[in-house]
């Protein structure tokens, strides 16, 4: 990483560099690297440079984030700009308003460099389901960057943005953060308004942040979080007890669910995580083994609830109100042709699955049962958090894989979410931190906190990050 947010703020106010130079620097990096990586779907170079010139004229910068260049996942709306969500069906859709999170950053005069690539409608774990080509892992272009916030994670990892907004429905921020060796944070459900986020599965979707450090994430989170009258599920998180400081390390108890350290997870990753745990034990952090018997059902539960919600949410793409449309003979023929023609394979697969589990005769067996299992997963977490402050696990069950390796095997691809999806099902805040490399490929470690303890999670994550990078 070349710039942290604090470094940019200092550099600009001490006139070590101008905002224009800073933006030019990022744009040059993008011009040099992104042909290979394919993290940006659209770039706002002229607008960004003009905005930078205006900022250079300011006597005093209104905020820490003023002039800080960022990227926005292309399923989050930026007014006046194309928002494809990685889909042909929205290829020419120009957003009529900005998402609340974007509007808050615009108000602070952060600079949006462009919109980043993703799996279509945020459905995928590798970035390969984008209608506009796969993003490649900047650490090694033969490998996937992880998904679905593939472009956001790759852009931050390759110094093509200082930070990025992403979305996380089952791990879509944490997984690519782990694969690209950066930090990825999914807040509590509702902590950042979903207004202006193109819906995938509304009971699980959450906007979050990808950055190079926990400190940067904290700054951005403070700027974008909070209750929003345009999203009635948005809410305020709890203040951390001692302001600015988390619990002392020696008072911390971190839980290790047995079910998160089991078969199905790469041996090398488990070894790496065990070593990182030893680093923390050396600093006085205590660990406790937990039993959370329902975590293993997270992916199965998710692959009922998500397609059910997605198939309902995506019913709006009818070729009439907005989005791409195919000529047809009458109304119903138009639905079939538009949806059949513009949705990608994975989206159609999930719509079919969702339609099936909600269809008459199957509702109780699938959807209702999944909601009951979801309650049991929530209860597992509630009981665990009576014994521990946070829960720790690997972020991904395996290392970044090669492009094309899993794309034709949906079930194996779906298992990428094994360790991340429980936090979405329970609405909990979770963060992935870089934990080291195995044969040059990065692995992340995830920390999960009780609902609304986002600030406490970030301040502890900051301490842990420091221990691991020492």
């Amino acid at each position: 990483m070349r710039y942290s947010i604090k470094k940019i703020a200092q550099g600009l106010s001490n006139k070590e560099f101008s905002c224009k130079e800073l933006v030019e620097d990022y744009l040059e990096t993008i011009a040099k690297k992104d042909k290979n990586i394919n993290s940006y779907l659209s770039l706002f170079s002229d607008k960004a440079l003009k905005q930078a010139e205006e900022i250079d004229k300011l006597e005093k910068k209104p905020s820490f984030l003023t002039g800080v260049p960022l990227a926005v996942k292309d399923n989050i709306l930026v007014k006046g700009e194309v928002s494809t969500a990685g889909s042909r069906i929205l290829e020419n859709y120009r957003a009529p308003y900005s998402a609340t999170a974007v509007r808050k950053l615009e108000k602070l005069q952060a600079i949006i460099l462009g919109k980043t690539n993703l799996d279509e409608f945020a459905c995928g774990s590798s970035g390969e389901h984008s209608a506009f080509g796969s993003t490649k892992n900047p650490l090694n272009c033969e490998y996937v960057p992880g998904g679905s916030s593939s472009g956001s994670a790759a852009a931050v990892s390759a110094d093509m943005a200082c930070f990025a907004l992403g979305s996380d429905t089952a791990g879509s921020i944490r997984l690519p953060a782990s694969f690209c060796n950066v930090v990825g944070f999914k807040p509590s459900y509702g902590a950042i308004s979903r207004y202006g986020l193109i819906a995938l599965a509304s009971s699980l979707d959450q906007i979050g942040i990808i950055a190079n450090s926990v400190e940067d994430i904290e700054i951005v989170f403070e700027a974008v979080r909070g209750k929003d009258r345009f999203d009635s599920t948005s809410l305020e998180v709890e203040e951390a007890k001692a302001k600015g400081k988390g619990k002392a390390l020696k008072d911390l108890v971190i839980g290790l669910p047995k079910e998160f350290f089991t078969k199905g997870i790469d041996k090398e990753i488990l070894e790496l995580v065990e070593n990182r745990i030893k680093d923390l034990q050396a600093q006085g952090i205590k660990f406790k083994e937990l039993e959370m018997p329902h975590l293993q059902y997270g992916v199965a539960c998710y692959y009922i609830i998500m397609p059910a919600e997605l198939s309902s949410n995506l019913a709006r793409y009818d070729g009439i109100k907005y989005g791409s449309s195919k000529q047809a003979n009458g109304l119903i023929d138009g639905y079939f042709k538009t949806r059949g023609g513009f949705f990608g394979e994975e989206i159609k697969r999930r719509i079919m699955l969702g339609t099936y589990v909600l269809s008459s005769g199957y509702y109780d067996a699938y959807y209702l049962r999944a909601l009951r299992v979801r309650s049991k997963i929530v209860r597992d977490f509630e009981q665990s958090f009576q014994k521990v402050d946070f829960i720790l696990s690997p972020t991904a069950p395996f290392l970044p894989f090669k492009l094309g390796q899993k794309v034709n095997d949906p079930v194996s691809m779906y298992l990428s979410d094994l360790l991340t999806v429980p936090a979405n099902l329970a609405g909990l805040p979770a963060i992935s931190l870089p934990a080291g490399k195995i044969d040059e490929l990065p692995a992340g470690i995830q920390l999960i906190a009780p609902a609304l303890k986002d600030k406490a999670l970030l301040s502890t994550a900051k301490q842990i990050e420091k221990i691991w990078t020492q």
Binding site: L235, H294, Y297, A300, I320, K337, G340, M352, T355, Y356
Partner: protein, 95 residues
């Protein structure tokens, strides 16, 4: 899942498919359903289905539009693939 079922679901979902696509969907969906059938192992007797996070409360507001100006109206209408004046054009329902 048999082939007729896949065809029926595609019709409900309003998705056009070629026959080969339906055949491979039949295979893939069956594999996914095999996996999610894992949930049958869980004893859910007496467990309430999860609806929304217990942290959320109902939010009420007056039934009044947020936007007072007509600008957003024009922007939204401009997004429609077909329109006449200030109306979104819908394809014909009856022949």
């Amino acid at each position: 899942m048999n082939f007729e079922e896949v065809k029926h679901i595609a019709k409900l979902a309003r998705l056009d498919f070629e026959k080969e696509e339906l055949l491979s969907l039949q295979k893939e969906l069956s594999l996914i359903l095999d996996y999610i059938n894992k949930l049958k192992e869980v004893d859910v007797k007496g467990v309430e289905p999860y609806c929304y996070s217990s942290l959320l409360k109902n939010v009420f507001r007056e039934d009044k539009a947020f936007f007072k100006n007509n600008e957003i109206k024009k922007d939204l209408l401009d997004l429609a693939p077909e329109k006449t004046d200030s109306f979104v054009k819908v394809k014909s329902v009856f022949k």
